[in-house]
Each structure stands twice: as C-alpha cells, then as structure tokens.
Amino acid sequence: MTAALNLVALLGRTVLGLLRALGQVSLFAAEALSHLLRPPFFLRQFVRHFAEIAYFSLPVVALTALFTGMVLALQSYVGFARFNAESAIASVVVLSVTRELGPVLAGLMVAGRIGAAMAAEIGTMRVTDQIDALTTLSTDPMKYLVAPRLLAGTLALPLLVLVADILGVMGGFLVGVLKLGFVPQTFLDNAWDILQPMDVISGLVKAAVFGFVIALMGCWCGYASRGGAQGVGQATTRAVVSASILILALDYLLTAAFFS
C-alpha cells in the first residue's frame, strides 16, 4: 500500500514539476516577446545572433540536407523498384525534404549547435554575475539577452531550411541521375509536378516555430542555471534535449494541422 502511494506521489510530483516548468517557460517567453514591441531595441545583438545562426550554421545544415537527400533517393529506389515505381522517387524526395526532413533535421542540428551555445553563454553570464551587472547598468537582461535571440532564431531557421530544401533535393537529383540512371529533365519534371506551394510554406512555418523553440529553450535553460560550471553543463544538456524533443513533438502537431 505504501509503495503504491509513493508511486502516486512520485507521479504527482513529476506532473506538478512539468506544469510548473511549463508555466515558467511560458511567462519567460511572454516577457521576452513583450520586449520585442517596446524600445529600446538592441539591433547589434540581433544581427550578431542572426549571423551566428543563419551563416555559421550553414555548413552543418547544408551537409546534413545534401546527404539526407542522397540517402533518401537510394533507399526509395531499393523499395520502389520492387513495385516498378521508380518514377515516384523524385516525388518522394521533394515532398519528404520540403515537408519534413528539411525543417526537422535543420532544427535538430541547430538545436545541438546554437541551443547549446546559447545556454552555455547565458548560463556562464548567470553564474559570473554578468546578468546582475546588466541590471545595474540600467539594461533589462530579457531585452538585451533573450529578445534578440528569440527573434534571430525565428527568422534565421526558415532561411536555413530553404537552403536545406534546395540541397536535399539536389542530393536526391545527383544520386538519381548519376547513380540510378534517371534522365535529368524527367527527374526535375516529376519533382516539380508534385510540389505545391503549401509543401514549402509548411516547412518554413515549421522552421520558424523550431527556431523560436531552440532559442527559447537555450535562453531559458541558461537563464535558470545555478551553481557554477556543473550547473552550466546541465543547462546546456537540458537545452539541447528539451529543444530536440519539442521539435519532434511540434513537428507532429504542425503536420497534423497542415495536412490532415
């Protein structure tokens, strides 16, 4: 009986903890967003973080998308050849990349690269009193540290995903033409015919949401970190794990909203 009660208590504590964290993150996000509407604006901070996300993440996102498109074409060929449906490969590649793989894989790569960096930087600022110093210098830390990162994440990831879409389809095209023997024009025609504006738009909307979530979790975990180097390390891990899980969960919800 006691064991059962302990189990229920543990479950209750976990759920309450999750709800508390959800409330705290929501309030944190709302406050940060309110600073985007009220001057002063720290344009330099925005530009710095936008460049960090959009430009410096480009190589890793580009390579991920290129190889994913190539693998997708190969794997699809193996499966579709059994049913003489090889001509559908271009359609599968273009739809998979634009709707799902582009935004999700770019999101996960950026979560690992940028989410971790944001949590580590803000966490270090927290444990070395730099955030308190901002307050004493008449600068709201939410306005200076968090709001520009949220905006940069939201705007930069769609650009990365646009590049990922193009390179992912190009990867599939290269494998299709050079290895599987497709006629280039036929591959492109098949891809173009199936592609609808909504396929690309839904991917870009997902990217914007994922970019916001990555920046939010990076900032929140860093901001809430305590206890020196160990605390900063834990914050970094939490930022990447929570952003990755949220990306996958939100991907399902957004896919359901767009296509069901």
Partner: protein
C-alpha cells in the same frame, strides 16, 4: 548623522528556502558618505546590496533612496534611480563578448547617451582615471589580469558618473599592494564624483581605507555601526573579534567535525 539618509533600510528580511539570510536589517547611509558593511561569509552582505539594487526582492522591509520607498516606485522611477547608481562586482562581472571599451561605456551606449565613436574617448578617459592606458580598451576582458579586471570594472562603475556607488568585496582575490591601489582609486573616484558609497567587505585594511562609517552584519542583522577608523577597538566584542581576526569570542564558526 545629520539630515535624512541617502539610503535607508528598515526591517529588511529575506529567506532562501529555510535559510533566513536577512533577519531585519536596519541601516542608514548619509549623503556623500562612504559606509562599509562588514561580515563573515554568508552573513547577508551581498544579499543586502542586491536587495537595494532590485536584483533580489526582499520578503519584508523598506528600502528608501532619497526618501523614496523603492518598492512603491513605478518601473520608470526605479530605472531612473538605477541610472544614478554604479556597482563594482566582486569578480568584476565584465562582459566576455565585448571589448573593454564597450564594457566601460555599456550604460552610456545602451541609453544612447554617447555614439560609438564618442564612446572610445569616454572609455579612454574612464580608464585613465583608474590608471589604465587607452590601449587596454581594445583588449577583451579575458586578456586582463585580476587587478586590471577590477580596475576596468571600477571604470565601468564610474563611467556614467553615478552619485550612488556600491562596491562588493572590491579587494577580494588581489594581492595586498593591488588591494591598496584599488582602495585608493575607489576613494579618489567617490570623492571626485561626490558620491554616496556602500561597500561590503571582510578585508579590514580595505574597510579602514575606504570607509567613513562601518557597520557589522551578523546572522542577517546589523549588530554595530560606528566610525570606520575605530574598527578593532570599538568596545563591541563581536566587531573587535572580527576586525582583529581572533578565534575566540562571541562569533562561533559553525564547523562540522
């Protein structure tokens, strides 16, 4: 102490979980005077200053600056008070991502009181006041020694010409000579600005050098106030034990064996 105090604390209480850090702090700092708050580690010195600056919200009590209860002020009025204050943090708290000159002029740049071009000159002037060359402005904080970081942090604290300045353990981690240099700079800067200063320290030599008055905080309460020059011979057993670094006395260290 004549006239109304510049900073007035009454019944300040703050607990973190079960630990009561501040247990009714009462303190007055007169205009243009330098007050040093002494106390051991964990006695509540830093929390007191963070409450005054609005970084930590006290559970109870009144904080008045220039006769205004800061808890009752609007966001804008509180910001106006912060505009007139400077703070030197124990570890400097310089921003790693910015060069020294941007650190020094951070408040002025954030409030657009100077352009970026003017800021380099203003930073050079502030750095000169703390005995550093203008070329230091181009370095990053990570390239500076501990003493230089303290000086840059002091330059940042005074660059916007505040009339209330807080110093948190200004000489901690410095060798005695550099500690004396920093204390001298603090006294010069405070006098030049005509500012009111509140410092917290457990360095007795530093306390005597920078303080006009001193107060001792123990277990979250102010247990003594008096002239800083009398530290070590105040007649208060607790203060004298602390000031003279004696093992035996009314203050018992909580050691686990």
């Amino acid at each position: 102490m004549s006239g109304s105090p510049r900073i007035r604390l009454r019944g300040l209480r703050k607990a973190f979980g079960a630990k009561q850090v501040l247990d009714g702090v009462d303190l007055d700092v007169a205009t243009g005077r330098s007050m040093v708050v002494l106390g051991g580690s964990g006695s509540g010195k830093s929390v007191t200053v963070k409450c005054i600056l609005g970084i930590i919200t006290p559970d109870e009590g009144v904080i008045e600056i220039d006769g205004q209860d800061v808890a009752k002020l609007s966001r804008a009025d509180r910001a106006a008070i912060l505009d007139r204050t400077g703070m030197l943090f124990q570890n400097g708290a310089l921003f790693d991502s910015l060069p020294v000159w941007e650190n020094v002029c951070f408040k002025l740049l954030a409030q657009k009181r100077v352009s970026r071009a003017q800021a380099r000159d203003v930073a050079a002037e502030a750095l000169a006041q703390v005995g550093l060359a203008a070329t230091v402005g181009e370095l990053s904080p990570a390239e500076l020694s501990g003493g230089m970081q303290k000086r840059v942090a002091l330059a940042r604290a005074i660059a916007a010409r505040p009339d209330i300045i807080f110093f948190d353990e200004p000489t901690t981690g410095l060798d005695p000579i550099m500690g004396a240099v920093i204390d001298g700079l603090i006294v010069d800067c405070v006098k030049r600005l005509g500012a009111t200063a509140l410092s917290i320290t457990h360095d007795m030599a530093s306390a005597r050098r920078i303080g006009d008055e001193a107060a001792m905080i123990h277990k979250g309460r102010i247990v003594w106030t008096g002239p800083a020059e009398t530290l070590g011979r105040t007649g208060n057993a607790m203060v004298d034990q602390f000031a003279n670094g004696e093992r035996e006395g009314p203050i018992r260290m909580e050691l686990r064996r």
